[in-house]
């Protein structure tokens, strides 16, 4: 799974019937994960009622596809949880090259929340 932030929602009336009533959110991944085609975002199904601005955990691939109850849904990303807090061992993040993409976006918001 990867961490990301919800930055938008997709509205679509005409859609694959297997996606009926499925909420689709736009997620910008934190860290090293690069979505295909250089889009810097991915569209994920949401069953946990995430909203714009939430930090979320996104499941990719086959488990995401099968999350809607069948094996043939046109889905490859699904939000599985809304992040409340991330506890990080900051000493492990300090060596150069360790988790560069996680450090910056999460440092301000999430790490400080972990200290509360």
């Amino acid at each position: 799974m990867i961490l990301g932030r919800v930055v938008g929602q997709v509205w679509a009336t005409r859609r694959d019937p297997r996606l009926a009533r499925t909420k689709l959110l736009v997620v910008r991944p934190h860290g090293f994960y690069e979505p295909p085609l250089g889009t810097r975002h991915l569209v994920a199904t949401d069953e946990v009622h995430a909203g714009i601005g939430d930090e979320v955990v996104v499941c990719l691939g086959k488990p995401a596809r099968e999350s809607l109850g069948s094996n043939d849904t046109p889905v490859d990303a699904a939000i599985l949880g809304v992040v409340d807090r991330v506890d990080l061992d900051e000493e492990r993040l300090s060596p150069a090259g360790a988790a560069p993409g996680i450090r910056r976006p999460l440092a301000a918001a999430v790490v400080s929340a972990g200290r509360r």
Binding site: V57, R85, P100
Partner: protein, 90 residues
Amino acid sequence: MIRGTVLGQVWAARRSRGLDGRKLVLVAARDADGAATGGVVVAVDTLDARTGEDVTVAFGSGARNVLRPGAENRDLLCDAAVAAIVEGAG
């Protein structure tokens, strides 16, 4: 599977059914020489790995077998899970 080091824990009260009560950890990936690659992944942890411990992470639909083995695990939203806590590697 990959090797990595546990960086910390992710707390998420609102989560998919089937993952209730499961611990989520952040794991920094390591390359074959043991150096951090900069890649970070969130994995389900059933083995109670602690921060700083070396672990192996299983990816893909096989990761669901860590939570619930067998064909009846298709409802689980999990594509990465801690499969082992590494004590040593040659």
